[in-house]
């Protein structure tokens, strides 16, 4: 809990994030696009954890804020400039305002009602984006860059080409260093480092919130709202503040998704996308600092790796034994990989919820305690 330990955690976290293009090379995940998604969904999950991990309010509506953030950023790209700064600022602000409205209404109820209300709002936002608000969202087609866009702040570019997103001239997509280290062909691009810097900043903010009186109140909301009210604390403004903060993080993540690929469709607002961030946070460890990021990386990584495994890959893996064994193994494993990887995810999620409510972080701690033989009773799971 002390400040030195927090600084060490932050330093290690920052070092790992900044070195990700190198560290992930052996796992086959070190291409800029995926690394960027790790960071973006990490931000999304960190924000969600401030609401769910601390207050225990389970929202299924955060996809709406992700989508709103993307739409806001896209409009900045279309109207103002391809520079990502105004786009990101607007996505955070718009998502913040939007979450203020939805949070204000949803937080009139708690528990199950709250979850269902957020679910309904997410679905309503999706339908709005899909049909009703077509002038803003471009409906089914989705919002893309267009040659006719004004972009009043940008210098004109060559006729017939679409500009790309940039940070004061540094193009997000541009790979600025392409070395070969230890036999791995590495790619360092600007886009990832923008996302990485924001991820580290998000992690820092979340750490400060966890250690603050504000964070203490949020944890108190989760434990005993009755006592909190009779202690002179108005719990609703606290939960609303947490809701808006998490909505702003989601908006930032949405904006960053748009900087990566400047187009957005309504499907980004579907409630199942909000369900995915629930999976990330719970799988990693809700209420812990690092858990949400781990969960986000875990799910994104397996989403891209497991979903690409096919029958040939499996035959390669199990080629060590006799044919019948290989075939049997392939037959058993196949439903869980490739297109079936979501089944693996769902099953894993259930196992975690049933047996390991503290998520992967809790699991790692338990293993650590078993190995070090520490007194199990003494080490009650707290805030990591």
């Amino acid at each position: 809990m002390n400040v030195m330990k927090d600084r060490m955690t932050l330093l290690i976290f920052a070092a790992v994030v900044l070195a990700a293009p190198l560290l992930f090379a052996p796992t086959g995940a070190a291409y800029p696009d995926l690394l960027q998604r790790f960071a973006i969904y990490g931000i999304f999950a960190i924000g969600f954890n401030i609401l769910f991990g601390l207050t225990g309010y389970l929202s299924f509506g955060h996809a709406a804020f992700l989508g709103v953030g993307s739409y806001a950023a896209m409009w900045m790209f279309k109207l103002l400039s391809m520079n990502i700064i105004p786009a990101l600022i607007l996505s955070v602000i718009v998502a913040g305002l939007f979450s203020l409205v939805i949070g204000y209404i949803s937080l009139r109820r708690s528990g199950i009602y709250f979850s269902i209300l957020t679910l309904a709002f997410a679905e309503m936002s999706y339908k709005l984006a899909y049909s009703v608000l077509t002038p803003i969202t471009n409906g089914e087609t989705g919002l893309q860059l267009d040659l006719a866009d004004s972009r009043i702040m940008d210098a004109p570019i060559a006729e017939g080409t679409l500009p790309s997103t940039n940070l004061f001239g540094f193009e997000m997509k541009e790979v600025f260093w392409n070395p070969t280290i230890l036999g791995y062909d590495l790619q360092f691009n600007y886009g990832f480092y923008v996302c990485a810097a924001l991820l580290i900043l998000s992690f820092y903010i979340s750490m400060r919130i966890f250690r603050s009186p504000f964070g203490l109140m949020l944890r108190a909301v989760k434990t005993n709202q009755t006592r909190l009210n009779y202690t002179g604390i108005a719990s609703r403004p606290y939960t609303l503040a947490a809701f808006v903060i998490s909505g702003m993080f989601a908006g930032l993540a949405g904006g960053l998704l748009a900087t990566m690929d400047p187009s957005v469709g309504a499907e980004r607002m579907q409630w199942t996308v909000g369900g995915e961030v629930v999976l990330m946070v719970v799988l990693g460890g809700s209420g812990t600092l690092i858990g949400p990021v781990l969960g986000a990386v875990f799910i994104r990584y397996f989403n891209s790796v497991l979903s690409q495994i096919n029958e040939q890959t499996l035959h390669g893996w199990f080629a060590f034994g006799p044919d019948w064994l290989t075939n049997a193994m392939v037959f058993i494993v196949e439903p869980f990989v490739g297109k079936g990887w979501e089944l693996t995810l769902g099953a894993l999620f259930m196992i975690v919820v049933i047996f390991l409510p503290g998520g992967l972080v809790d699991g790692a701690k338990r293993i650590g305690r078993k190995l070090s033989g520490a007194d199990r009773r003494a080490a009650k799971v707290g805030i990591a």
Binding site: R211, L216, R219, A220, Y230, T231, A241
Partner: protein, 252 residues
Amino acid sequence: MGILEVQNVNKRFGGLQALNNVNLNVEQGSVHALIGPNGAGKSTFLNCLIGKLKPDTGSVKFDGSPVLGKKPHEINQLGVSRVFQTPEIFTDLTVFENVMIPCFAHRDGAFKVNAFARVMRDKEIRAQAEHILEDMGMKEKMNAHSGSLSRGDKRRLEMAMCLVQEPKLLLLDEPTAGMARADTNNTIDLLKHIGETRKITKVIIEHDMHVVFSLATTISVLAQGAIIAEGLPDDIKGHPKVREAYLGEAEV
């Protein structure tokens, strides 16, 4: 002019007149016990005081200002703390954190976004919390997980959380309900200890006559939703109406 003035409070649930024109005047510095047989309306009355229920008619004034219609946290901010029948504490947090929350509420009010302050670096709050834990004899348990405390310690912790706010009025809702005789005596001692060090007005809702007569300076008797007697403990002991109300229930 009492610190708590209740006038003509009525509350009806369907066909049941739960509170019938209740008047109560609690003097500053007194320990005012409210007793009565089961179903007399004690809990309803308490819930009306702290904002959980809204009476149909009547007025409740605390320290000169009306409290009816106010929310629990607003009433607390006026200086009313409450101890529950079963201790209500933050079971997921440590003892120290439990006590710091009321300290923050007392200093910073009902809502403050201090998301970048550090709890553990707030010397003022730490000192207050440590002091009250020391006073209540719980200092060595301050880093314990409060959910794992014994029931007696939970009660002690809840008292500490109420007292650290320096309330003007402390409401105790059957603080010894379901306790064994030894625990009850401990609680009485604790309340006496609090009374010696702090001049806090207390209203005790209680069933156990032993507790009432050990602590109270004034007693009001509630039966079938109405106050039937009020006075010093010795007067109440021999009061015929009280005997009638309690007939067959407990020795008075």
